[in-house]
Symmetry: C2
Subunit: 258 residues, 2 copies
């Protein structure tokens, strides 16, 4: 697999932890992406915009109508790629972006994993609750096969699926949900402080949408920010400690989790 490039020729760099972390952050922090599929009638490559979430280990999650082109395409051929990484001010090619090559699978309504995926998706796309349970809608999970990371000019990497996904630990996903609900219900002021000091958002009303082993996303309306845990991946049962630490960093007099 080769790295996509738009600017100067891509020079593949050896994959290091910084590249892995950047790739994971691009997936975790993406509210939307460009999904490329194969048009069923003729195999034409077709790109369209999709809303995104990720599962606990880092697989991208979609929500698609069975009537859409990309749903019909993926029902016919599961191969796809997903471009994530938003641009902002400045040169669009100076912003890092990632193409994840993947196989898509749709989650049947009765599948045991659906409720957890639905929970993670709707936590960051609240308006999608209006149609998520319509009979023609399905959640889709993209199983990564590899990825091309372009970290800016002349910073290109080829990543494996293992480079993109977090290993999980027994009970950690359930612990993450409890930690989120506890923080949102009882420590909204601490979440607002994290929003203010870590990502410069001064309005209040932020809440934690989704957690994983290496960080979490906060949301307010249609704005989302990814925040990494400064101490690295969370150990078994360890969300209490990381939030205590995050809040202590904000204000040493305060201990927001109890």
């Amino acid at each position: 697999m080769e790295a996509p490039a738009g600017g100067p020729p891509p020079l593949l760099q050896p994959v290091d932890d910084a590249a892995r972390q950047l790739a994971r952050r691009l997936i975790r922090g993406a509210r939307h992406g460009a999904l490329a599929v194969l048009r069923p009638a003729d195999g034409f490559p077709a790109a369209s915009r999709v809303l995104l979430a990720s599962d606990f280990t880092g697989r991208p999650i979609l929500l698609v109508s069975g009537l859409s082109l990309h749903a019909k395409a993926l029902a016919n051929d599961t191969r796809c790629s997903l471009l994530v990484g938003e641009t902002g001010k400045g040169d669009p090619l100076a912003h890092p972006r990632l193409t994840v090559f993947a196989e898509a699978r749709f989650i049947p309504p009765e599948d045991h994993s659906r409720e957890g995926l639905r929970e993670r998706f709707l936590a960051r796309h609240q308006k999608s609750a209006l149609y998520a349970d319509f009979p023609d809608f399905r959640f889709g999970v993209l199983e990564p096969l590899g990825a091309a990371l372009n970290g800016g000019f002349a910073r290109a990497f080829e990543l494996t699926a293992d480079d993109l996904l977090d290993e999980t630990l027994e009970g950690l996903e359930a612990a993450a949900l409890r930690a989120r609900d506890h923080m949102n219900a009882d420590h909204g002021d601490a979440v607002d402080m994290i929003a203010s000091r870590h990502v410069g958002e001064t309005k209040t009303g932020w809440r934690i949408a989704t957690l994983d082993r290496t960080g979490f996303e906060i949301v307010r309306g249609d704005t989302l920010h990814r925040i990494e845990f400064p101490g690295g991946p969370v150990a078994a049962g360890g969300y209490r400690d990381v939030f205590v630490e995050l809040v202590r960093q904000e204000d040493p007099s305060k201990n927001a989790t109890d």
Copy 2:
């Protein structure tokens, strides 16, 4: 061809002038897009970010390195699609976007059309001048076959190539270049006034990058805005009149073109 959708099921609407204008504006105003191609080794759909310009009639223009995945892919199979339409604040699916299905062709160094395409591309991507003439780089033109427009929730349209492209008139492209150079060289204050009143940019130093029959793009550093001519497509030789009119709208006491 079916419309891509991420939100509620797409309901195809009859194509009208407002849809055509929106689609053309999305192409003309795009600084970058997501290009989907077929990976040569295995036919996998591959999406990556590309910088964009458009030719005088509205065909997207790319600049790609022969070492990049998408250049190798398009050399092997010219079929591609291009997703344009930037998101901003708010729901990503509430922002209009367009998928153009196209055949790509690369422009050989000695081709008579290269200089005009190079001029239009570099007028909006000045930094690309650093590598545009490297021996492995080629300009590419996407010949549209059709497009899927999603103008926001439940506003989906299928467009033909004719819906996307402007008819040109003898001598009009050359007249557009002269009008641009004249405005930039002698009426920079008028361009800044247009930037201020039409798109709310209060800094000075704006210049016109590219013109076509229905409007133009102004740039300043990495910021670009598309502005439509309020009176519709320009008639033969008519750029003087449209700029006189645009500047009169700003300040009735002033006549910036002479």
